[in-house]
């Protein structure tokens, strides 16, 4: 059911309006579900999980606390923005918790508060409390979104800023005729835009581009569909200055406030150059070799079919949202049904903009630019836009009771699969992220008793390398190559042995070597010196 012009928006999302109290309970259900997911994320590994970005952020926060400045003279800082480190520093100043406790145990629960931010935004977009509840639920069963907000990275802060700024933008649109209120919303909007840029200037700039794209899309739509003219004009009038001012804010931030962030954006002009070198030469040099963002998937999961099963919700969201988005657009263009509301129109535009950015990130990833993982990085933003699109479709759906029960069951199964994927559950994932307390002890031993410059091996991937940074165990960087020149020390734990069995890879041969450390679960071996001159 859609509103007719002039009709109250209670009917926008379809269905009868629930009582306010019912809506509160609906939010509570999603919020408590998010709390369960957060608690499970820590409970699954007893709070002992680690991954690269979490470790890196721990290092940045530690440097900010130690040096008491956002630009640490040690050079240890998050080059894309300072806000997450600053927020964490503030929390540590008040609570006195350890940085690893904050990242591993507290933040996953704090992430549940995103529900309370997402819900009003989605209500503003969809015009329906029911659609907002469904959209928020869909958002919180998406593994790609869950993973980024549960781990110890800046994304939980970033998502709050992004969601809130969209709500403020829509509110400012709605109150454009009331100057003081409009100015208030505009002030708060730019505060959140600044927060987005200060958290990650790359994402902040992408957001500015998305708004600019929405503006252009609105302008194009004005000429294509006469029925879209009013909403398009309204959007243009109010959106025109946003990309300009936000762009200036981003420029000031990158150039003057936090210069390290400008370095990342400085890579953008070279993308075309790298792409052309990649496409036009028959013998590309290694620096321009095509980067395959999907290559890791085959190693990362026990079976590629399991990966696709766990990603089912993602693919359904992709396909469903795309179909609904096209249908909505075509109906509006053809003038069938009702004209779009401002909220739905902006949602439709931002969905298109984020999809376009997703496509562009595939190009950037192929060029091996910006870490080569932009598809992965930009997908959660796309999910944020796709969820309400699908929710609108679902709330307009009128299934029979039995179908409704089946659909609810399917959503429950998708939620479980999503959680398994987001937590890298070792039953299905080869990318183990958990560790033992004894591994921490062993890393500290190496930090205490190895000399600067000595090499050691610990695990087949970044797991213990990240753990070393997270718990600040030592300044020694382990090598991932068990045959590295000069390497004579090997840290072998029960987890590494189990992992070697899972991956079908041999544990470094240490049987006939010195065994210099034993804490029950972990042993450290040192290769015997072959000549009297080796130490």
């Amino acid at each position: 059911m859609r509103p007719s012009p002039g009709a109250p928006p209670a009917a926008v999302g379809g269905g009868p309006a629930p009582e306010a109290d019912d809506a509160r309970w609906s939010i509570s259900v999603v919020f408590s579900f998010a709390l369960i997911v957060g608690a499970y994320f820590t409970f699954r590994f007893s709070g002992r999980w680690v991954e690269g970005d979490t470790a890196s952020q721990a290092d940045n926060i530690r440097a900010m606390i130690r040096d008491m400045t956002i630009l640490s003279p040690s050079g240890v800082l998050y080059s894309n923005g300072y806000a997450f480190s600053a927020v964490s520093t503030f929390i540590v100043a008040f609570t006195g918790v350890k940085i690893e406790t904050l990242l591993q145990l507290i933040y996953p629960l704090v992430s549940a508060t995103l529900v309370l931010v997402a819900w009003p935004v989605y209500r503003e977009f969809t015009g329906s409390a029911r659609a907002a509840t469904v959209a928020t639920l869909i958002l919180f069963v998406q593994p790609e979104f869950l993973f980024v907000i549960l781990r110890g990275s800046h994304e939980r802060v970033l998502r709050v800023f992004l969601l809130l700024s969209m709500w403020l933008l829509l509110r400012s649109f709605r109150h454009a005729d009331k100057t003081p209120l409009y100015a208030t919303y505009v002030f708060l909007f730019y505060l959140t835009v600044y927060g987005t840029i200060a958290t990650n200037s790359w994402f902040g700039s992408s957001y500015v581009w998305a708004l600019a794209t929405a503006l252009v899309g609105s302008w194009v739509a004005r000429w294509l569909g006469p029925g879209l003219r009013p909403v398009s004009l309204s959007t243009q009038r109010r959106l025109l200055y946003v990309p300009i001012f936000a762009g200036v804010l981003a420029f000031l931030f990158n150039s003057y406030i936090y210069p390290p962030s400008g370095q990342t954006l400085g890579q953008i002009p070279s993308i075309l150059d790298r792409l052309s070198r990649l496409m036009l030469t028959t013998s590309p040099d290694p620096s321009t070799t095509r980067y395959n963002a999907y290559a890791a998937i085959f190693d990362q999961w026990v079976d590629i079919r399991v990966y696709f099963l766990l990603s089912l919700g993602t693919y359904l969201l992709l396909a469903g949202s795309a179909a609904l988005w096209i249908r909505m657009g075509l109906r509006w263009l053809a003038g069938v049904g009702d004209r779009p509301t401002l909220g739905r129109w902006l949602l439709w535009l931002l969905y298109g903009a984020s999809a376009l950015q997703g496509a562009m990130s595939v190009v950037a990833d192929n060029a091996g630019m910006l870490g080569g993982n932009l598809q992965y990085r930009s997908f959660p933003t796309f999910v944020m836009m796709a969820s309400p699109i699908v929710a609108i479709g679902l709330t307009e759906w009128r299934p029979k009771p039995r179908t409704r029960v089946l659909a609810s069951g399917a959503l429950g199964i998708l939620a479980l699969l999503g959680i398994a994927k987001a937590t890298n559950d070792p039953a299905v994932s080869n990318g183990w992220s958990f560790y033992l307390p004894s591994e921490v002890s062993a890393l500290r031993f190496l930090g205490d008793y190895m000399k600067e410059g000595q090499l050691y091996w610990s695990d087949f991937d970044e797991r213990l390398r990240a753990l070393r940074i997270l718990v600040n165990a030592s300044n020694l960087t382990p090598t991932l190559d068990p045959n590295a020149v000069g390497l004579r020390t090997y840290l072998i734990s029960d987890i590494i042995r189990a992992r070697a069995a899972r991956l079908g890879r041999p544990v470094p041969p240490v049987t006939g070597e010195l065994r210099i450390y034993d804490d029950g679960d972990v042993q450290i071996y040192r290769k015997r010196s072959l000549t009297p001159y080796q130490d």
Partner: protein, 303 residues
């Protein structure tokens, strides 16, 4: 306060999806009163007062003082009543504005020497929160008194089945999440007991390789006791059939570290002789931990 679908007056040309006014005028001020501002002020002040207390006490108060109170104070200063935003929107705005304020505050503090020291941070956050709360109080006090609050008789009817089901889910979810979290916090294992051997310089270097028969090779053995219990140990170095050296008994308190030099002399020549250094725990027949060295033992040269 309306959280559900609400009515609005659409703009002349564009339908807006959400109503302009969140609450009815009758609830504009009466709904809030002063308790919300007062409780935020209490949290902010408490966060300062408990600065030296244990993290268990400081954590919930500190999190609220950092992640909620500053934004709530800002939102209350801007929107002193519920006339423009409803409760859910106020919560969202409080959470987001807190983070935005912290981003700006960090930038300002960074310009001051040692601005990001814990004391400066606490003072700045609490100070700005209280300032905004005072502004909010002034603005709320100046707001024209609302019409007398409509007193709605409490609804004695039993909640609908769907609502009861929803409430049960919320309670169950909170219980499960709470249980999982408490289990996580309370089942943190202690650090293990570590047993190690290092070279004479106390680094992972210079392990003995070639020795003469009867010539003692020196290493340093160490024990780092687990943090949850004490223990008494013996350390002995042995070949397959001969005990070469022993140390102890050593009694260690939880978390205590012990290191001592150990001299190992082998009685017979031969290459690749395995020396096992065992950590024997009192009351346990089998070695608790063990280490291994390899030595090439050469016959003594004639004097």
């Amino acid at each position: 306060m309306a959280i559900s679908e609400r009515t609005t007056t659409p703009a002349p040309t564009v339908q807006t999806s959400v109503p302009a006014e969140a609450d009815s005028p009758t609830t504009a001020r009466g709904r809030h009163g002063w308790w919300d501002l007062a409780s935020c002020a209490v949290i902010a002040v408490l966060a300062l007062l408990v600065a030296g207390a244990s993290p268990a006490l400081r954590t919930p108060i500190g999190l609220a003082a950092v992640l909620y109170v500053p934004g709530f104070a800002l939102a209350a200063a801007i929107f002193p009543t519920n006339a423009q935003i409803d409760r859910v929107e106020r919560v969202a705005l409080s959470l987001g504005s807190s983070l935005g304020l912290l981003a700006v505050l960090a930038l300002i503090l960074d310009k001051v020497d040692h601005g990001l020291a814990p004391e400066s941070i606490r003072s700045a956050v609490v100070g700005s929160s209280l300032l905004l709360l005072v502004l909010a109080i002034v603005r709320r006090a100046r707001t024209a008194p609302a019409a007398p609050r409509t007193v709605t008789p409490p609804n004695r009817a039993r909640p609908s089945r769907a609502k009861r089901f929803t409430q049960a889910i919320v309670v169950a979810n909170l219980l499960v999440a709470g249980l999982a979290y408490v289990l996580t916090l309370t089942t943190q294992p202690a650090a293990p007991t570590e047993f190690y051997v290092v070279g004479p310089q106390r680094v992972v270097l210079d392990y003995p390789r070639d020795v003469q028969v009867g010539e003692p090779a020196e290493v340093i053995v160490g024990i780092h006791q687990t943090t949850d219990a004490g223990g008494t140990y013996h350390v002995e170095a042995a070949t397959a059939d001969t005990v070469l050296a022993s140390l102890g008994p050593v009694t260690l308190k939880p978390g205590e570290r012990w290191e001592a030099p150990m001299r190992i002399a082998l009685p017979a020549p031969g290459d690749d002789q395995e020396v096992v250094i065992r950590l024997l725990r009192e009351g346990q027949p089998d070695p608790y931990r063990y280490l291994r060295l390899w030595l090439n033992v050469h016959a003594s040269e004639p004097a």
